[in-house]
């Protein structure tokens, strides 16, 4: 279990993480969702004691990270697949981590096998593809057989096969009763993997809800209708107790309506329909609505495209 309480991080004037309070519960996959620059990576670095909070607190099973004995056996994290010395082989990278936490050397071979890197274990990490680097980072996270796992944007830049592998892995880890905390800026990704959802924008908590509730509340279904006899149709629907809303281009939308009922009604009164289609608002749209005000970098027409890869304030390293 990870508990955050009033966690705040400021870089000078800029507030990267603003008074976050939530709990990551065991046995489920908790999705940590937010647009780029929302403060997800900063939050995760504070959880691992890498960055010091300006205010507030994070506890892992009740303890601060630096009080954990052999922390890799408590919590395994993939923050940045590039956090590896490129001149070192995958085997030695994992071996030095294992030794620092008293993990037997045999375990290195096991995790290399789990992530499918056994064949390249003696190769230098700088020759690895993005996907292989990600697998090495996951091997490091699994090394101590920890009860808590944390992945920061694990599917970023992966090919479909790699994405599928990571999704399956996360689900199986949660099924084993472990706590899985995974960040993403893609709602569609979270919808496939997460049981619980924590959404942040500009460092602030926007939602802390179960995935099922989020879907129920945010996946609006409606019927979309186009007709040359719009006024007539509106009267007809009103008479049948159905509320239709006019949207752009003369399109009518009926929330929660049944297309069969509307179609039969129109046919009975000889009204021509050009379109009658059931619609489902995507979770992506719901997420964008939720975070619309907090998106740090709005795209402006005419402005040069920004780099969207960076997920934290630029700092000198």
């Amino acid at each position: 279990m990870i508990e955050l309480e009033g966690l705040t991080k400021r870089y000078g004037e800029k507030v990267a993480v603003d008074n976050l309070t939530f709990t990551v519960r065991p046995g489920i996959v908790t999705g940590f969702l937010g647009p780029n620059g929302a403060g997800k990576s900063t939050t995760m670095r504070m959880m691992l004691g890498l960055d010091r909070p300006t205010a507030g607190d994070v506890r892992i099973d009740g303890l601060h990270y630096d009080r954990l004995k052999d922390p890799l056996t408590y919590i395994g994290a993939l923050l940045d697949a590039k956090a590896v010395h490129g001149g070192r082989s995958a085997y030695h990278h994992l071996l030095c981590l294992a030794q620092s936490n008293g993990i037997p050397g045999q375990r290195v071979h096991e995790v290399l096998d789990t992530v499918g890197l056994t064949a390249v274990a003696r190769k230098k990490a700088k020759g690895f593809s993005l996907g292989m680097g990600q697998r090495l980072g996951i091997a490091a996270a699994l090394l101590g057989d920890p009860r808590i796992l944390m992945f920061d944007e694990p599917v970023n830049g992966l090919d479909p096969e790699g994405i599928h592998w990571i999704r399956t892995l996360m689900k199986s880890l949660a099924a084993q009763g472990r706590t899985v905390f995974v960040s993403s800026h893609l709602m569609s990704e979270m919808a496939l993997t997460a049981d619980h959802l924590v959404v942040i924008g500009q460092g602030r908590l926007l939602a802390d809800t179960s995935m099922a509730d989020f879907i129920r509340q945010n996946s609006r279904s409606y019927v979309r209708i186009r007709s040359p006899h719009r006024e007539q149709l509106l009267d007809l629907l009103r008479g049948a107790g159905i509320t239709a809303v006019e949207t752009t281009g003369g399109v009518l939308e009926v929330d929660g309506g049944a297309p069969e009922q509307i179609g039969e009604l129109a046919a009975r009164h000889g009204i021509v329909l050009h379109e009658l289609s059931p619609q489902q608002a995507s979770l992506e749209e719901a997420f964008m609505r939720l975070t619309a005000e907090s998106v740090e970098y709005h795209a402006h027409a005419g402005s040069s495209p920004r780099s969207w890869g960076e997920d934290r304030p630029r700092r000198r390293t």
């Binding site: 691992l48 890498l50 590039k82 070192r88 030794q99």
Partner: protein, 256 residues
């Protein structure tokens, strides 16, 4: 024990990267080879040497002449051991594994220091014997007063140069920045300060100049250096401690 585990882990780290082997090899080869060359040239020119120079002639110190260049490779070794953690991003992985930053840094520096000490002592002895062989009749032997001290001291000197670099790298974090500060400092600034009479008295308190006193057996004529061989090494040690404390405070206070 955490400390013992960190030492094992750091030993795996240091032996599994190529930069350890090549920096230390270059340090050994350059120190020995250049020392032999300068010893041979000195032997050749001894007959034409002015009396004043003959009075200060120090066959032990001459055989260490290669250290002026060889120490640069030791600086690179010290810088890369620490700063590569930052330049590669490995530091975040390392600190997630060992969040006790003081334990992490001291384990890393202890391992690198012991390795540097073993290599430096070997280099110092080899450079001495090779240099004396080149000096021929003008050479000295380990049995002469002060010579063994100078040879062992030479090993300590090279080691402390590496450790000083580790401390500076821990403060500056970037390998390029650290080398950009240390290389000119030891190769140019220290020499300039030491050779200009107005700044000579300041220059002799710089780490390399104070430390190198331990490698001298014969005191130069008119020498008024206010410290002896071990005193000089002590001054160097103070610099090293200051750099390490600075490095520790930076690591402890800053975000990784």
């Amino acid at each position: 024990m955490t400390a013992a585990r960190v030492v094992r882990s750091e030993w795996t780290k240091i032996r599994s990267v190529a930069s350890t082997v090549w920096t230390l090899s270059v340090a050994v080869v350059v120190t020995v080879a250049l020392g032999m060359l300068i010893s041979a040239l000195t032997n050749h020119e001894f007959a034409t040497m002015p009396d004043r120079d003959r009075l200060s002639f120090d066959p032990t110190f001459i055989s260490f002449a290669g250290m002026s260049l060889g120490q640069l490779a030791m600086i690179v070794f010290g810088v890369l051991v620490v700063a590569n953690e930052y330049s590669t991003g490995m530091i975040r992985t390392s600190l997630a594994a060992v969040p006790q930053r003081g334990t992490f840094l001291s384990g890393k520096i202890a391992v690198a220091t012991l390795l540097a000490l073993a290599v430096s002592l070997a280099t110092s002895f080899v450079a001495f014997f090779a240099g004396q062989a080149m000096l021929g009749a003008h050479g000295t032997s380990l049995g002469e007063p002060g010579v063994l001290r100078a040879v062992i001291g030479g090993g300590f000197y090279m080691t402390l140069i590496a450790v000083f670099s580790m401390g500076v790298a821990a403060m500056l974090r970037s390998p390029m920045l650290s080398l950009g500060v240390l290389m000119p400092f030891f190769f140019l600034i220290s020499n300039i300060l030491g050779n200009v009479s107005a700044t000579e008295k300041i220059g002799r308190f710089l780490p390399d100049q104070a430390g190198s006193k331990v490698m001298r057996v014969v005191t130069p004529v008119d020498d008024d250096t206010p410290y002896g061989p071990w005193g000089g090494l002590g001054i160097m040690l103070l610099w090293v401690i200051a750099a390490l404390v600075g490095g520790y405070l930076m690591l402890e206070r800053r975000d990784a």
